[in-house]
Symmetry: C2
Subunit: 129 residues, 2 copies
DNA sequence: CCGCATCCATTAAGATACTG
DNA sequence: CAGTATCTTAATGGATGCGG
Protein backbone atom coordinates (compact mmCIF):
# COMPACT_ATOMS: atom_id res chain seq x y z
CA UNK A 1 0.00 0.00 0.00
CA UNK A 2 1.42 3.36 -0.99
CA UNK A 3 2.31 5.76 1.75
CA UNK A 4 0.08 8.31 0.09
CA UNK A 5 -3.06 6.86 1.54
CA UNK A 6 -2.04 6.67 5.16
CA UNK A 7 -3.24 10.08 6.18
CA UNK A 8 -6.25 10.18 3.93
CA UNK A 9 -7.49 6.78 4.97
CA UNK A 10 -6.82 6.84 8.64
CA UNK A 11 -8.41 10.18 9.25
CA UNK A 12 -11.64 8.74 7.99
CA UNK A 13 -11.95 6.93 11.28
CA UNK A 14 -12.02 10.16 13.25
CA UNK A 15 -13.71 12.57 10.90
CA UNK A 16 -15.84 9.92 9.27
CA UNK A 17 -19.35 10.86 8.34
CA UNK A 18 -18.56 14.44 7.60
CA UNK A 19 -16.35 14.70 4.50
CA UNK A 20 -15.50 18.35 4.86
CA UNK A 21 -13.90 17.72 8.23
CA UNK A 22 -11.40 15.58 6.40
CA UNK A 23 -10.33 18.36 4.10
CA UNK A 24 -10.25 20.75 7.02
CA UNK A 25 -7.93 18.35 8.80
CA UNK A 26 -5.66 18.17 5.80
CA UNK A 27 -5.50 21.93 5.58
CA UNK A 28 -5.00 22.43 9.29
CA UNK A 29 -2.67 19.51 9.76
CA UNK A 30 0.66 20.21 11.35
CA UNK A 31 2.62 20.18 8.13
CA UNK A 32 -0.24 21.11 5.84
CA UNK A 33 -0.47 24.53 7.48
CA UNK A 34 3.22 25.19 7.01
CA UNK A 35 3.37 23.89 3.46
CA UNK A 36 0.48 26.08 2.39
CA UNK A 37 2.00 29.16 3.98
CA UNK A 38 5.38 28.59 2.35
CA UNK A 39 3.89 27.99 -1.06
CA UNK A 40 2.01 31.25 -0.84
CA UNK A 41 5.31 33.04 -1.47
CA UNK A 42 6.43 31.07 -4.48
CA UNK A 43 6.78 27.56 -5.87
CA UNK A 44 9.23 25.31 -4.05
CA UNK A 45 11.15 22.21 -4.87
CA UNK A 46 10.84 19.28 -2.56
CA UNK A 47 13.98 19.62 -0.52
CA UNK A 48 13.84 23.36 -0.66
CA UNK A 49 10.45 23.11 1.00
CA UNK A 50 11.85 20.72 3.50
CA UNK A 51 14.60 23.10 4.49
CA UNK A 52 12.20 26.05 4.60
CA UNK A 53 9.86 24.30 7.00
CA UNK A 54 12.57 22.69 9.06
CA UNK A 55 12.27 19.59 11.19
CA UNK A 56 9.85 17.84 8.92
CA UNK A 57 10.71 14.30 7.92
CA UNK A 58 10.84 13.33 4.29
CA UNK A 59 8.08 10.88 4.91
CA UNK A 60 5.68 13.38 6.44
CA UNK A 61 6.38 16.00 3.82
CA UNK A 62 5.75 13.54 1.01
CA UNK A 63 2.57 12.42 2.65
CA UNK A 64 1.35 15.95 3.26
CA UNK A 65 2.10 17.03 -0.29
CA UNK A 66 0.33 14.04 -1.74
CA UNK A 67 -2.74 14.61 0.36
CA UNK A 68 -2.89 18.28 -0.58
CA UNK A 69 -2.30 17.42 -4.21
CA UNK A 70 -5.10 14.91 -4.18
CA UNK A 71 -7.44 17.47 -2.65
CA UNK A 72 -6.58 19.82 -5.50
CA UNK A 73 -4.81 22.40 -3.34
CA UNK A 74 -1.26 21.80 -4.49
CA UNK A 75 0.06 21.33 -7.99
CA UNK A 76 2.96 18.96 -8.56
CA UNK A 77 5.15 19.53 -11.57
CA UNK A 78 7.63 16.71 -12.08
CA UNK A 79 10.15 17.42 -14.77
CA UNK A 80 11.49 14.32 -16.51
CA UNK A 81 15.13 15.18 -16.11
CA UNK A 82 18.07 13.66 -14.33
CA UNK A 83 18.58 14.49 -11.58
CA UNK A 84 14.84 14.75 -10.97
CA UNK A 85 13.29 18.11 -10.38
CA UNK A 86 9.84 18.52 -8.90
CA UNK A 87 8.20 21.85 -8.26
CA UNK A 88 5.25 22.32 -5.96
CA UNK A 89 2.92 25.26 -6.18
CA UNK A 90 -0.57 26.25 -5.09
CA UNK A 91 -3.59 25.81 -7.28
CA UNK A 92 -6.20 28.57 -7.28
CA UNK A 93 -8.12 26.55 -4.76
CA UNK A 94 -5.03 26.06 -2.66
CA UNK A 95 -4.27 29.73 -2.70
CA UNK A 96 -7.67 30.49 -1.22
CA UNK A 97 -7.06 28.03 1.57
CA UNK A 98 -3.50 29.18 2.12
CA UNK A 99 -4.52 32.78 2.48
CA UNK A 100 -6.91 31.94 5.26
CA UNK A 101 -4.37 29.76 6.94
CA UNK A 102 -1.79 32.49 6.74
CA UNK A 103 -4.24 34.99 8.20
CA UNK A 104 -4.66 32.66 11.13
CA UNK A 105 -0.92 32.24 11.51
CA UNK A 106 -0.38 35.99 11.44
CA UNK A 107 -3.10 36.48 13.99
CA UNK A 108 -1.46 33.90 16.22
CA UNK A 109 1.89 35.59 15.92
CA UNK A 110 0.41 38.96 16.77
CA UNK A 111 -1.32 37.60 19.85
CA UNK A 112 1.57 35.69 21.33
CA UNK A 113 2.06 38.23 24.09
CA UNK A 114 -1.48 37.79 25.33
CA UNK A 115 -1.21 34.04 25.08
CA UNK A 116 1.94 34.02 27.14
CA UNK A 117 0.42 36.20 29.82
CA UNK A 118 -2.58 33.90 29.94
CA UNK A 119 -0.29 30.93 30.37
CA UNK A 120 1.59 32.50 33.22
CA UNK A 121 -1.65 33.28 34.99
CA UNK A 122 -2.89 29.75 34.40
CA UNK A 123 0.29 28.09 35.57
CA UNK A 124 0.51 30.22 38.66
CA UNK A 125 -3.09 29.48 39.58
CA UNK A 126 -2.45 25.75 39.11
CA UNK A 127 0.79 25.88 41.04
CA UNK A 128 -1.00 27.07 44.14
CA UNK A 129 -3.65 24.38 43.67
CA UNK B 1 1.56 13.96 35.87
CA UNK B 2 -1.71 15.53 34.79
CA UNK B 3 -2.98 14.75 31.36
CA UNK B 4 -3.17 18.46 30.67
CA UNK B 5 0.46 18.75 29.78
CA UNK B 6 0.73 16.01 27.19
CA UNK B 7 -0.21 18.08 24.19
CA UNK B 8 1.45 21.29 25.27
CA UNK B 9 4.72 19.64 26.19
CA UNK B 10 5.10 17.11 23.49
CA UNK B 11 4.42 19.47 20.65
CA UNK B 12 7.51 21.34 21.70
CA UNK B 13 9.55 18.60 20.11
CA UNK B 14 8.07 19.26 16.71
CA UNK B 15 7.34 22.97 16.74
CA UNK B 16 10.20 23.77 19.07
CA UNK B 17 12.06 27.00 18.48
CA UNK B 18 9.12 28.90 17.19
CA UNK B 19 6.58 29.47 19.99
CA UNK B 20 3.80 30.74 17.81
CA UNK B 21 3.72 27.49 15.89
CA UNK B 22 2.72 25.85 19.10
CA UNK B 23 -0.32 28.06 19.55
CA UNK B 24 -1.16 27.65 15.90
CA UNK B 25 -1.07 23.90 16.39
CA UNK B 26 -3.38 24.14 19.36
CA UNK B 27 -5.84 26.25 17.41
CA UNK B 28 -5.70 24.11 14.29
CA UNK B 29 -5.57 20.81 16.11
CA UNK B 30 -8.18 18.28 15.19
CA UNK B 31 -10.35 18.87 18.22
CA UNK B 32 -9.29 22.44 18.86
CA UNK B 33 -10.84 23.51 15.57
CA UNK B 34 -14.14 21.88 16.39
CA UNK B 35 -14.26 23.11 19.97
CA UNK B 36 -13.65 26.70 18.91
CA UNK B 37 -16.33 26.53 16.25
CA UNK B 38 -18.90 25.08 18.61
CA UNK B 39 -18.17 27.63 21.32
CA UNK B 40 -18.70 30.43 18.84
CA UNK B 41 -22.43 29.75 19.07
CA UNK B 42 -22.75 29.71 22.84
CA UNK B 43 -21.18 28.36 26.02
CA UNK B 44 -21.25 24.60 26.39
CA UNK B 45 -20.98 22.18 29.25
CA UNK B 46 -18.42 19.43 29.01
CA UNK B 47 -20.56 16.54 27.88
CA UNK B 48 -22.79 18.76 25.87
CA UNK B 49 -19.71 19.75 23.91
CA UNK B 50 -18.75 16.14 23.62
CA UNK B 51 -22.07 15.22 22.11
CA UNK B 52 -22.03 18.25 19.81
CA UNK B 53 -18.66 17.35 18.38
CA UNK B 54 -19.26 13.62 18.30
CA UNK B 55 -16.65 10.88 18.32
CA UNK B 56 -14.22 12.74 20.53
CA UNK B 57 -12.88 10.83 23.49
CA UNK B 58 -13.22 12.26 26.95
CA UNK B 59 -9.49 12.38 27.25
CA UNK B 60 -8.89 14.34 24.08
CA UNK B 61 -11.66 16.78 24.85
CA UNK B 62 -10.28 17.39 28.33
CA UNK B 63 -6.81 17.82 26.95
CA UNK B 64 -7.93 20.15 24.19
CA UNK B 65 -9.96 22.29 26.54
CA UNK B 66 -7.13 22.54 29.04
CA UNK B 67 -4.67 23.54 26.38
CA UNK B 68 -6.99 26.18 24.97
CA UNK B 69 -7.74 27.42 28.46
CA UNK B 70 -4.07 27.73 29.24
CA UNK B 71 -3.51 29.68 26.05
CA UNK B 72 -6.23 32.08 27.14
CA UNK B 73 -8.66 31.18 24.36
CA UNK B 74 -11.26 29.35 26.40
CA UNK B 75 -12.76 30.27 29.74
CA UNK B 76 -13.64 27.53 32.18
CA UNK B 77 -16.33 28.22 34.72
CA UNK B 78 -16.62 25.43 37.29
CA UNK B 79 -19.59 25.81 39.58
CA UNK B 80 -19.16 24.27 43.01
CA UNK B 81 -22.35 22.27 42.98
CA UNK B 82 -23.29 18.64 43.09
CA UNK B 83 -23.50 17.22 40.55
CA UNK B 84 -20.63 19.27 39.09
CA UNK B 85 -21.36 21.78 36.40
CA UNK B 86 -18.64 23.29 34.24
CA UNK B 87 -19.29 25.76 31.48
CA UNK B 88 -16.84 26.49 28.75
CA UNK B 89 -16.93 29.66 26.71
CA UNK B 90 -14.65 31.70 24.48
CA UNK B 91 -12.57 34.56 25.79
CA UNK B 92 -12.28 37.67 23.61
CA UNK B 93 -9.00 36.30 22.35
CA UNK B 94 -10.56 32.93 21.68
CA UNK B 95 -13.40 34.51 19.77
CA UNK B 96 -10.95 36.14 17.40
CA UNK B 97 -9.28 32.82 16.75
CA UNK B 98 -12.56 30.98 16.46
CA UNK B 99 -13.91 33.37 13.88
CA UNK B 100 -10.95 32.74 11.64
CA UNK B 101 -11.16 29.04 12.13
CA UNK B 102 -14.84 29.09 11.31
CA UNK B 103 -14.15 31.08 8.17
CA UNK B 104 -11.75 28.39 7.11
CA UNK B 105 -14.25 25.67 7.91
CA UNK B 106 -16.96 27.41 5.93
CA UNK B 107 -14.61 27.87 3.02
CA UNK B 108 -13.79 24.19 3.12
CA UNK B 109 -17.44 23.24 3.15
CA UNK B 110 -18.16 25.51 0.22
CA UNK B 111 -15.33 24.03 -1.83
CA UNK B 112 -16.03 20.38 -1.23
CA UNK B 113 -17.33 19.90 -4.73
CA UNK B 114 -14.11 21.09 -6.26
CA UNK B 115 -12.07 19.02 -3.86
CA UNK B 116 -14.00 15.91 -4.76
CA UNK B 117 -13.57 16.50 -8.46
CA UNK B 118 -9.85 17.00 -7.92
CA UNK B 119 -9.69 13.71 -6.05
CA UNK B 120 -11.44 11.82 -8.76
CA UNK B 121 -9.07 13.20 -11.34
CA UNK B 122 -6.10 12.36 -9.13
CA UNK B 123 -7.24 8.84 -8.39
CA UNK B 124 -8.03 8.12 -11.99
CA UNK B 125 -4.64 9.37 -13.12
CA UNK B 126 -2.98 7.19 -10.52
CA UNK B 127 -5.08 4.20 -11.39
CA UNK B 128 -3.80 4.20 -14.92
CA UNK B 129 -0.25 4.65 -13.64
C1' DC C 1 17.54 14.85 -6.52
C1' DC C 2 13.00 13.10 -5.62
C1' DG C 3 10.97 10.15 -4.03
C1' DC C 4 8.87 4.94 -2.32
C1' DA C 5 9.07 1.18 1.01
C1' DT C 6 10.06 -1.03 5.24
C1' DC C 7 11.56 -1.68 9.91
C1' DC C 8 11.80 0.35 14.41
C1' DA C 9 11.45 3.63 18.47
C1' DT C 10 8.76 7.18 20.21
C1' DT C 11 4.43 9.86 20.83
C1' DA C 12 -0.23 10.74 20.43
C1' DA C 13 -4.90 9.10 20.44
C1' DG C 14 -8.60 6.33 22.02
C1' DA C 15 -11.39 3.05 25.23
C1' DT C 16 -12.49 2.05 29.62
C1' DA C 17 -12.87 1.82 34.56
C1' DC C 18 -12.83 4.65 38.32
C1' DT C 19 -13.20 8.94 41.73
C1' DG C 20 -14.97 13.42 44.01
C1' DC D 1 -21.24 15.37 35.71
C1' DA D 2 -16.68 16.21 34.97
C1' DG D 3 -12.97 14.66 34.99
C1' DT D 4 -8.40 11.29 36.18
C1' DA D 5 -5.62 6.91 35.79
C1' DT D 6 -4.47 3.19 33.24
C1' DC D 7 -4.00 0.34 29.34
C1' DT D 8 -4.27 -0.51 24.37
C1' DT D 9 -4.01 0.96 19.71
C1' DA D 10 -2.77 4.05 16.01
C1' DA D 11 0.13 7.74 14.10
C1' DT D 12 4.49 9.83 13.61
C1' DG D 13 9.20 10.34 12.68
C1' DG D 14 13.94 8.53 11.99
C1' DA D 15 17.08 5.53 9.50
C1' DT D 16 18.08 2.91 5.77
C1' DG D 17 18.03 0.78 1.27
C1' DC D 18 16.23 1.04 -3.43
C1' DG D 19 14.73 2.96 -8.00
C1' DG D 20 13.85 6.45 -11.71
Amino acid sequence: MPVSNEMADKYVAGAAMCPYRLVLEHVTSRWGVLVLIELLDRPYRFSELRRAIGRVSEKMLTQTLQTLERDGLVHRDAKPVIPPRVDYSLTDLGREAAEQVRALALWTESRMGEVERAREAYDEAKGRG
